[in-house]
């Protein structure tokens, strides 16, 4: 029962993190924010080359032949980096839509009343988008359209991978808050020396670690209740993590230049995608 990352999984995580640091560093993030709905096709292909989309496809079909745990680790890194684009839908389309696995084709999917990245997508799955109207999205990194007739809840894997992104975002905002608290001085000392700030950060970490246990376990079991629990706890870790990070950053966190708000807004979007709080709580209750 070694419920921990093995060496290959550590290497995979490191690889994805390095890829994203190289291809989607601070400048690229800023550019993506200012570009609005533009998707970087070069980056998309690089993700395809790295096996991000084909991760779970069998090797005989040209995939990487790995499993849900590895996909969760990759999506956690994507969440950390605030990587934009319909990552979940394209990952799910690999092996079903020609070119998705390679990153040649951008695939999005209808989820409830929403479709993300509709203008940038080559293929739409899971529902009808005629009559779709643009939404002025609260998240500058997630263009959204509203469709007149929504789709019902779909693939549990979509729920889990979204939870993994939330986990990554929560881990990142926790790290950002801790770092800022070590460096920023007020009243003659680092603000992290004040318990009011330090304990806020401790609470963030607590939620991250609990969510991590839930997300990783769901990746191993693929159990629907485990997945609902993972989404519930990861959503909370991400949304509250970004809010608390903003509080630690103080006025600086309220500026457009700090990345905190990007994490918060994306966490808000993801919390409403595939499975919301009420539904996740009901799934967990029904299992009792």
């Amino acid at each position: 029962m070694p419920f921990r990352l093995d060496d290959d999984q550590r290497a995979l995580r490191r690889g994805v993190r390095e890829l994203l640091e190289g291809r989607f560093g601070p400048d690229a993030l800023r550019a993506a924010v200012e570009d609005g709905g533009e998707l970087d096709r070069g980056l998309w292909r690089a993700l395809g080359d790295a096996g991000f989309f084909a991760l779970r496809m069998p090797e005989e079909d040209g995939g990487v032949g790995l499993g849900l745990p590895e996909a969760v680790l990759a999506f956690e890194e994507a969440g950390r980096a605030l990587l934009p684009g319909p990552l979940v839908a394209t990952h799910l389309a690999a092996g079903h839509v020609q070119g998705a696995a390679e990153g040649d084709v951008v695939v999005t999917a209808v989820d409830g009343q929403l479709v993300e990245w509709l203008d940038a997508a080559d293929v739409v799955r899971g529902g009808e988008v005629s009559g779709a109207r643009p939404v002025r999205s609260v998240d500058p990194l997630t263009p959204l359209h509203r469709v007149p007739r929504g789709a019902a809840y779909g693939d549990p894997v979509a729920v889990l991978l979204t939870a993994a992104e939330q986990l990554g975002s929560a881990g990142r905002t926790t790290g950002m808050a801790a770092r800022y608290a070590r460096e920023r001085e007020q009243f003659g000392r680092p603000i992290g020396a004040f318990q009011a700030v330090a304990h806020l950060c401790a609470g963030m970490l607590e939620r991250v670690e609990v969510a991590r246990g839930a997300v990783y376990a769901a990746a191993v079991t693929a159990d629907p209740v485990d997945i609902a629990a993972a989404k519930l706890l990861a959503d909370e870790a991400a949304v509250r993590g970004a809010r608390d990070c903003l509080q630690v950053y103080g006025g600086m966190g309220f500026t457009w230049e700090a990345d905190v708000h990007l994490h918060l807004k994306r966490a808000w979007v993801r919390a409403r995608r595939w499975m919301g709080t009420a539904e996740a709580e009901e799934v967990c209750a029904a299992a009792l």
Binding site: D139, R184, Q247, T255
Partner: protein, 378 residues
């Protein structure tokens, strides 16, 4: 304990309400939020109308109860709030009124009341933040002028302001709170640069000020040199008192709107959401009572609302964030993520409430130390 109003107060309310009903339909359309000159013109014109109708000095001169009625009625009627006159009417003005010389009062107060001069605030600094007393903008005496260099942040209306109430450090060797001086700086003085500051709401509601050897006449100093901290505290206590009264009325109107929307879109049938809105109703009603309590205490004791304002601000800033989080649940699905929907942009703005004008962490320390008598934490 009483919540009824005197005949005089009810007369005041009736007259005000009548006047608002008469004048509001004639107001021009609200300017675009990014049109600073337009906003200045709109807000100062409104202040001039108030002045002409005898309401111009209500924020300073009226009994707190009348001021509360004024805030309640104008908000309920949907009248403009102070807008560009914010600092002049609620910060710099009261400070000058309390601490300025007769000449300074004569010079600066009437143009504020008549909607002629717009003031902005130069207190916060990027490195000072919640620790306002650590501010580093320096001022040297040079004959009958101070020469000011440094930078300020979170300044509203800087692009269109005539004056800036400025805190500067005049004695770097004195203890932190002792070497600070309050100056009125003309915004057209040489060396003043304004750079818009974009916030997470996506708009540039604030600016940064860069001050490069800006000359400010010594005559523009309010209070003694190095006594600016005390002078400023007058303003800040004022802010923590009834400054949010209009906002609480507005929040209650938003909550009513949320209930209406929830009944319309069916989410009212969800007891989790419905009870959450019920709880918010209890909170906002209680916050309004707390304002009435603080105002009554201030009126009876003749003092500005003090530490009680910290208790109010703590709870109010949290309640406001809860309100807009609840709004997202009422909207649900796509609407909660749509900036063109009512309440979504305000949800973003609400995030500043637990930070601006003293973080919740600072407020809790104030409450713990000054009300509960706990030892000063470190």
């Amino acid at each position: 304990m009483d919540l009824a109003h005197t005949e005089e107060e009810e007369d005041f309310r009736a007259r005000l309400r009548k006047w608002l009903t008469a004048v509001l339909p004639g107001l021009p359309p609200k300017p675009d939020p990014t049109d600073w000159p337009g906003r200045r013109a709109y807000d100062t014109a409104w202040q001039r109308m108030l002045y002409d109708a005898g309401y111009g000095d209500l924020h300073w001169a009226a009994a707190p109860t009348l001021r509360l009625i004024f805030l309640e009625e104008t908000e309920l009627a949907g009248a403009p709030y102070v807008g560009a006159n914010f600092v002049g009417l609620l910060h710099a003005g009261p400070t000058i009124a309390a601490e300025g010389t007769a000449g300074q009062r004569e010079r600066w107060l009437p143009p504020i009341l008549k909607g002629q001069d717009v003031w902005c605030q130069g207190f916060s600094e990027p490195d000072a933040g919640s620790d306002l007393a650590s501010l580093r903008t320096r001022a040297w005496r040079d004959g009958d002028h101070y020469v000011v260099s440094g930078s300020k942040i979170w300044t509203s209306h800087a692009e269109v302001a005539d004056w800036c109430e400025l805190l500067v450090r005049t004695d770097p060797d004195a203890p932190r709170h002792r070497g600070i001086t309050w100056l009125a700086m003309p915004m057209d003085a040489p060396g003043v640069t304004v750079r818009p500051l974009r916030t997470l709401t996506g708009t540039a509601e604030f600016a940064e000020l860069f001050l490069d050897e800006v000359p400010v006449p010594v005559a523009n100093r309010v209070g003694e040199e190095n006594d600016g901290w005390r002078v400023t505290m007058v303003t800040l206590s004022y802010e923590r008192g009834t400054a949010f009264a209009g906002e609480v009325v507005a929040c209650r109107r938003v909550l009513t709107g949320l209930a209406r929307e929830a009944r319309k879109n069916g989410r009212w049938d969800d007891p989790v959401l419905r009870r959450r809105l019920g709880r918010l109703n209890a909170e906002l009603r209680a916050l309004w009572r707390l304002i009435q309590w603080n105002v009554s205490e201030a009126e009876a004791t003749g003092s500005v609302p003090g530490v009680g304002g910290s208790v109010f601000k703590l709870r109010y800033s949290h309640a406001r964030q809860e309100l807009y989080d609840a709004a997202a649940e009422v909207l649900g699905g796509a609407d909660a993520l749509d900036l063109d929907r009512e309440w979504v942009h305000e949800r973003l703005s609400s995030l500043s409430y637990t930070i601006a004008a003293g973080t919740s962490q600072i407020q809790r320390s104030i409450v713990a130390e000054r009300i509960l008598g706990l030892p000063k934490g470190r």
